[in-house]
């Protein structure tokens, strides 16, 4: 039998309503799992056991009062939040020393909505510092380890959230995706990672890395849970001026409608490119065959400017980051270096001690890219490329309904393997970055194992067309029937 903490959210929600289980029992199982494995996985930076217990008790009280029918779908289900999402009264570090003492006075919109719906928060998850990284090794606190193989990385930057869901330390989790930071760790940890359309989920309370690329996304055990969690957090937020105007939809509706007649585009160069792991290519090709078998047509599409997407991303994201991170100066909140003679020295010492190497690298790159005399050649040029990438997607989506690709060129790599080579690290996100530049939705679902490690299959869709992306992902998930579990978890008693 599957342990409570390893079941899906919708399965647990049904069991709660049927009176088979209580929210307290689900939480207890999840807490026990955290106790059992987190010393090895390192998914959490801050645990919120007392808060979770109160929230679970509230849900149980409502169930006892006969309110099951009125209970939102996410009620009573243990959730983890990436530590770049602010939580009122709960320390939020962004994986950085500079925010080590920071306790936000407000909730991010996504968590505010989930909390109001009865969600149970078990903790804040580890991540790359300010969400900058693809392996979680840039956390200022500790790396996260992949539950499938503790010597490998979980991906990043939302590595803690991905690992927590994979290891049963949370039933589902929120992360953020600026260049692939939900989809890539989801792929490496064998879970479902969804990055919705830019603006569909409010960024209010998402500690900014690169504002025009940052998205809140979900980690779940299956596609139905992704649709459920998205439905709970999506919709217009007056506190985010880039938030889309429409209210949240019900993304579960139509999920089982299948892919017959669906046109699936494949960028052939991506599958044949150098650096793609053969096992990844094979699993993705097999998944494409399954889609055809389900009645979809698989056709080649071109994204001619996608080759430049990575370069453009590494100008735009650092430029925005250099400005977004300027506020961490020791004046108003967070860490402040002691012993400075004046404010300039205090700023410099605080930032010198508070930021890690990768963050400093990107601040410097971005500052340079925006400097007088360089702006046009770097930031300006990158924005033009971004426009071309957006047009590529528009053209492609004139021919196909979704675009399929590997989520990442490789499976989980070993800790330390790429830390000395930032460029190799950056290549982990080569297939995920275009969707961030264009703002289109993307999902990663597990499509098999290569050498015992999960392979992620990415589907991208038109702006605001989450419905089609989720429907296609659900059909494929069902056909693949990925049931493998991380050895770490498989060895534990149910």
């Amino acid at each position: 039998m599957t342990a409570l903490c390893d079941r899906t959210g919708h399965d647990l929600a049904a069991a709660l309503r049927a009176g088979e289980v209580s929210a307290a029992e689900i939480l207890a199982a999840t807490t026990a799992r955290i106790e059992a494995v987190d010393a090895r996985v390192g998914a959490f930076l801050t645990r919120t056991g007392d808060l979770a217990a109160r929230q679970a008790a509230t849900v149980d009280a409502r169930l006892a009062a006969g309110e099951a029918a009125a209970l939102p779908a996410v009620a009573g289900i243990p959730l983890a939040l990436k530590d770049v999402l602010t939580t009122r009264g709960v320390r939020t570090t962004a994986g950085s020393r500079i925010l080590e003492p920071y306790v936000p006075p407000y909730d991010c919109t996504a968590w505010e909505r989930l909390a109001a719906a009865g969600s149970v928060l078990v903790g804040k998850t580890n991540c790359d510092e300010f969400a900058m990284g693809s392996s979680n090794e840039n956390s200022a606190y500790a790396p996260v380890r992949n539950p499938w193989n503790l010597d490998t990385v979980p991906g990043g930057s939302s590595g803690g959230s991905a690992a927590a869901v994979a290891a049963g330390e949370a039933v589902w989790a929120l992360g953020t995706d600026t260049g692939g930071s939900v989809r890539q760790p989801a792929a490496l940890c064998g879970v479902v990672g969804l990055k919705p359309t830019y603006g569909l989920v409010s960024r209010y309370g998402l500690i900014a890395f690169a504002s025009s690329l940052d998205h809140v996304g979900t980690f779940t055990r299956d596609v139905r849970d992704a649709a459920t969690l998205l439905s709970a957090i999506a919709g217009h937020d007056p506190r985010d001026a880039t938030s889309l105007p429409e209210p949240a939809g019900d993304y579960v509706r139509g999920l089982e409608d299948g892919v017959r007649g669906l046109r699936v585009g494949v960028v052939e160069e991506w599958l044949s490119m150098e650096g793609i792991q053969p096992g990844v290519r094979d699993a993705v090709s097999a998944a494409l065959d399954r889609l055809e078998g389900l009645g979809a047509s698989v056709v080649p599409v071109r994204l001619p400017h996608a080759d430049y997407a990575l370069s453009a991303y590494y100008l735009i994201a650092p430029a925005e980051c250099s400005s977004n991170l300027a506020r961490y100066d020791g004046v108003r909140y967070g860490a402040r270096a002691a012993g400075a003679a004046d404010v300039v020295e205090m700023n410099a010492r605080t930032r010198g001690a508070g930021f890690g190497d990768e963050v400093k690298r990107r601040i410097m790159l971005g500052t340079y890219a925006l400097s007088a005399g360089y702006y046009d050649a770097y930031y300006g040029q990158a924005q033009k490329v971004r426009t071309l990438v957006i047009r590529d997607f528009e053209a492609a989506f004139g021919q196909v309904d979704v675009i399929a690709s590997p989520t990442s060129p490789t499976t989980a790599f070993r800790l330390g393997e790429r830390t000395g080579d930032p460029l190799a690290m950056y290549l982990s996100d080569i297939f995920t970055i275009p969707a961030n530049l264009a703002g289109v939705p993307g999902i990663s679902i597990p499509c098999g194992l290569a050498d015992g490690l999960p392979v992620g299959f990415q589907l991208m869709g038109r702006l605001r067309d989450e419905a089609t992306v989720l429907r296609a992902a659900r059909a494929l998930e069902d056909a693949i029937g990925f049931a493998a579990r991380p050895p770490l978890v498989a060895g534990l008693p149910a």
């Binding site: 999402l85 404010v343 702006y375």
Partner: protein, 496 residues
Amino acid sequence: MGDAATTAGPVAGTDTAYETVIGLECHVELSTRTKMFCGCRNEFGAPPNTNVCPVCLGHPGTLPVPNERAIESIVRIGLAFDCEIAPHSLFHRKNYFYPDMPKNFQISQYDLPICVGGHLDVEVDGEGRRIGITRVHMEEDTGKTTHAGATGRIAGADYALEDYNRAGVPLVEIVSEPDLRSPAEARAYLTELRATLLALGVSDVRMEEGSLRCDANISVRPVGHPEFGTKVEIKNMNSIRSVERALRHEQERQVGVLAGGGRVVQETRHFDETTGTTTSMRSKEEAFDYRYFPEPDLSPLEPDPAWVERLRAELPELPAARRRRFEQRYAVPPAQAATLAADHAWAAFFEEAAAGADPRLVANWMTGDLAGLLNEAGIELAGAKVGPRHLTALARLLADGTISSAGAKAALAEAFATGEAIEAVVRARGLAQVSDEGALTAVVDEVIAENPGPVEQFRGGKEGALNALIGPVMKKTGGSANPQVVRDLLRARLSR
């Protein structure tokens, strides 16, 4: 006054006449209820750090949401200056570190401001001039740093205190073309600008409270030179008068430098209110690189043309038009018309009072005695106890001879203090003039008897001698006699 276009004139020892070129950059805090990008109250003088929230303190993860009223205000300002309202404009981030700026960048506008290419018509010494407005753009204000310790200035301060109440207050920057040719023109421009903004009701434009701030760019060049001279930026002027003073000083300084064979250095200079001089703050080489880039947290501003046209149609009468109307319709002299038209409260007060009495008398007493009383009491017209009805009554009683100027002066002062009706004050204080000939004849005869000299002179044909007799009559009646009646009476008695 009296700065001609070639203000500086020929300098002693040279034959060169210099022309001054000035452009002004004004910052105006809008008087919206809330701040530019959050819901905090926008108010002056609250205890430090009480009008703050996570957004205006720049907390991690917070986002700006534009204040619609502020956008409406800046569009109205642009329309009042006849600017083009850009169909597409952008917010940019201006990046620099300063502790009073919570995010260490200011949300501002850069190459695509919302209002471009307008003008403001000003009058100097009766001559009209059209001053170009380059742009009007929207931004947010910073907080306020107080350097604490021995000197109160940055150098030598022990620590600094930050008050973020002002951080995020909507701020409009209005940049003029280098069209101003003298400090007096700069003053006239600022006065007109202030009056226009007051008429729009978008700001209280108080330089002493910082809701209107002004930096000036000034250069001089030999008359006839096609190119501008090297410009200097002047900061820290906290009244319209100090702008004029600073510019006068700087104009002389620059002419002195050039006349002495030197070169003006491009720099920013600080105006010292007490000495009336400018001193160097930083040179061009020390200028910042603000690394402007489009604010990714905000969408482009694309105002609906129909909305803009509605705002245009709803613009109030602006001071220039009002001034012309006051001169033409009410026959008020230009200087008084300018004063009355400059301020919405004054103009409304005037028109209401003038509806029931001689407008010229109303204008005269408003800009004279009433302005003096307000100034003395240190209050605004809106807070005064006298209203338009008082001025109507005052002008009527003056016109029909019930009170003299002296009586009117006393009556207005009393009403200003108590709020009582002018008629009641005149009655209670016995300020009505004595126009009854019967009551005055005895006094007139008395004065004639006591002043044989002037009587002789008048009878000898010296008309002016009559004044020497009127004075004593007024004195004996305690100022209550109607001078015209006294004059007529004296003439009648003496010619008999």
